[in-house]
Amino acid sequence: MEPHEERRGGGVAALSAPGRAVVAIAVAVVAVAVAVHLTMVFLHVAPDNTLSKEHGRTIDDYVLPEFEQNWKLFAPNPLQQNIHVHARARVTKDDGASETTGWVNLSGMDGANIRGNPFPSHTVQNELRRGWDFYSGSHDNDHRAIGLRGELSQAYMKRIVLERFGTELNGGTVDRVQLRSAVTRVAPPAWSSEKIDTKTEYRVLPWWSVGRDDLKGSK
């Protein structure tokens, strides 16, 4: 045996009583901490169950915000539709006339950027895509915001659009913007006998007016 093996054996046993007490406390603290942490994280990632329904508050208090996690990657089903976000603006020209621009496919622009790019930036892969998830997850079917997140997500989407449009567009100032989603289901694989309607469905959001503060801090 190599010498360190013997010395290791002497470890805790060779300590004085106070030393051993400290080690004993440390063992207990670490064991409890590991057990608590793993239990909390387990209940956080597990489906709703008897325990997590009863102690949901405690679990959230422990896990959120820094240990929050979601590993339902492509589960229970992968996304089977291309969700594109389109936007248009109403601009006021110098002569006072106003004009509505055509729809711009912002997601299509993201997609074009991703194609042929081995390292797509989070700004094209996540910004609009996750922003839209955030928005649709915090609004009801009548486009009403749900709570703080609803309100924040609307401001976020408006800023994403304004940053891409700029405040000046088609020779006028952007007064209002409007978004719509264009959802196209992915056609079934060629070897499948499934029939799926792949017609694009649109969902148009109300016009949002653009205030001076909406782009605060932006370029």
Binding site: E66, E68, K72, R149, Y156, V186
Partner: protein, 494 residues
């Protein structure tokens, strides 16, 4: 045997693994119930509670000796450290042109929006201290530097804290810019702070290896091991400077923009621990240092368990939720992500795969089987290694096919905690051999890599640890620490 005498190459190490196994078998022969195939089985021994109790106590004692005496899985801890530091570093460099849009003043997730959300959920971000663009640039630069330092293992313990601050600050500033890869980096950056991940493959380890022979030569083999340690510790100007700077920064943060009580406790606590370690190495190298060493091992080992469990949670969750999905059941699920515009950098390449129903079916079922099975395969080394290989290959293909390179890199870094020690040592030798050839022998890997991990001197207070674990105030290994060749036995899971 010292660092540079360590036999090079994987063969001797592999041998050692075998030796230790044979050793275990031999030990079995003396056990009352040891069953060997070539013997007639003895009659079942009568049930003797006292004997079982003694055996349980012996096992518990052995386990206790292991978790207190050793920072287990030094190579695994190091590869996780290197993997996540590299992933985050590469990501930050890639996003350099977009940094202001992601986390800075130009973000559509405006500072006020972030402030309102973070006030509600209490997420930690130093970027919420002020809206200043200069501050943002400083934080981004610091995050890059901390990642690079952690990657190299320079003042590992201190840099791991800075790394965590960088990750949390940037990600929590714009939480909706992230994806699963960011999520796993976020978690691991916190866990890494509690591990002794700089024991091998680090500048700290190299420094320790360099000072060790010097100290040993100065004192002679029989001299008290602590004298040179104190002498060398006192020379650690960098450590003292870092520690003092940390105190200043913390003081400003605490009394200036304000840390929450919880975070203040965390940071001041970590700072105090660094100081304590420096102090015991210098002034109390006997038992106090041994106790600190044991506690550090315990925390490391506990955290390694958490990291391993976290990886199991990820795969178990991903797998079990998929089982319920109709697309995973009918064998077409793998087809759909490849047809999404946001995940199709190479549509022509994806078409090669999606045209073949059998291929898609195998990919779909294979993914679910591997993910669900993985945690259970940890009970069998060989099966676990096969699955690990499959998962790493799958992540590499996701990196290309779905255009998620940083997500994939992060997942591979997490998987790496389960890589076998033998393979890691072999890779390390190869890498340092390459580095040596490139740099004619004085390279970073050549010696640093050979410094062993944890066992040396643990418990006795002799040698080991050092900069690798002190960051701010490295103690010094003095040389009598034997350098055991890594054995599989040391890895928590190889």
């Amino acid at each position: 045997m010292t660092a540079h005498e360590r036999p090079d190459g994987p063969r001797p190490d592999e041998h050692r693994v075998d030796d230790s196994r044979t050793g275990e078998h031999r030990a079995d022969e003396y056990r009352p119930d040891g069953h060997r195939a070539d013997r007639t089985p003895p009659p079942p021994p009568p049930f003797r509670p006292a004997e079982w109790r003694a055996r349980a106590e012996a096992a518990a004692g052995k386990a206790l000796a292991r978790v207190t005496g050793t920072a287990l899985g030094p190579y695994q801890a190091a590869v996780v450290r290197i993997g996540f530091a590299a992933t985050w570093l590469l990501f930050l460099l890639r996003e350099l042109p977009h940094r202001r849009e992601l986390y800075g003043p130009e973000s559509p997730w405006g500072w006020e929006l972030a402030e309102r959300l973070n006030d509600a959920n209490e997420a930690f971000s130093v970027l919420m201290w002020t809206e200043s663009g200069v501050w943002f640039e400083c934080v981004y630069a610091l995050a890059v530097l901390a990642s690079a330092a952690l990657l190299l293992g320079w003042r590992t313990r201190t840099m791991s804290v800075l790394f965590m601050v960088g990750v949390l600050s940037l990600q929590n500033r714009s939480i909706f810019m992230g994806d699963g890869g960011d999520n796993v980096i976020h978690l691991m950056s916190i866990y890494l702070v509690l591990t002794r991940c700089g024991r091998v493959w680090s500048l700290d380890a190299r420094r320790a290896a360099r000072t060790a022979p010097a100290a040993s030569a100065a004192s002679g083999p029989t001299a008290a091991p602590d004298a040179p340690a104190a002498a060398l510790v006192s020379r650690d100007v960098t450590g003292v400077v870092l520690w003092t700077l940390a105190a200043l920064a913390l003081a400003v943060a605490t009394f200036g923009p304000g840390l929450t009580a919880g975070w203040a406790l965390v940071f001041w606590g970590l700072w105090a621990v660094q100081g304590l370690w420096w102090l015991v190495c210098r002034r109390a190298p006997g038992e106090p240092r041994a106790v600190c060493d044991i506690v550090a091992n315990l925390v490391h080992n506990g955290t390694m368990v958490v990291i391993m469990a976290e990886v199991c949670f990820i795969y178990a969750t991903a797998g079990w939720y998929k089982i319920q999905g109709s697309r995973w059941q009918d064998g077409t699920a793998a087809y759909y992500p490849m047809k999404l515009d946001y995940f199709a950098p190479w549509p022509a390449l994806n078409d090669l795969f999606v045209g073949n129903g059998l291929m898609i079916m195998i990919m779909t079922y294979g993914t679910v089987i591997v993910q669900v099975a993985f945690p259970f395969t940890l009970f069998n080394r060989r099966v676990k290694n096969v699955l690990l290989f499959v998962m790493i290959v799958e992540h590499l293909s996701i990196a290309v096919l779905l255009g998620l390179p940083f997500f994939s890199l992060a997942m591979i870094a997490a998987d790496a905690v389960f890589l076998p020690t033998v393979l890691l040592v072999w890779l390390g030798t190869r890498a340092s051999g390459l580095a040596g050839r490139l740099r004619r022998g004085t390279g970073f890997g050549a010696r640093g890599e050979g410094v062993p991990a944890g066992d040396a001197g643990a418990g006795s207070g002799a040698a080991e640890d050092t900069g690798a674990d002190t960051g701010a105030a490295p103690a010094v290994p003095h040389g009598r620490a034997p350098v055991p060749a890594p054995t599989a036995e040391r890895a928590p899971r190889d």
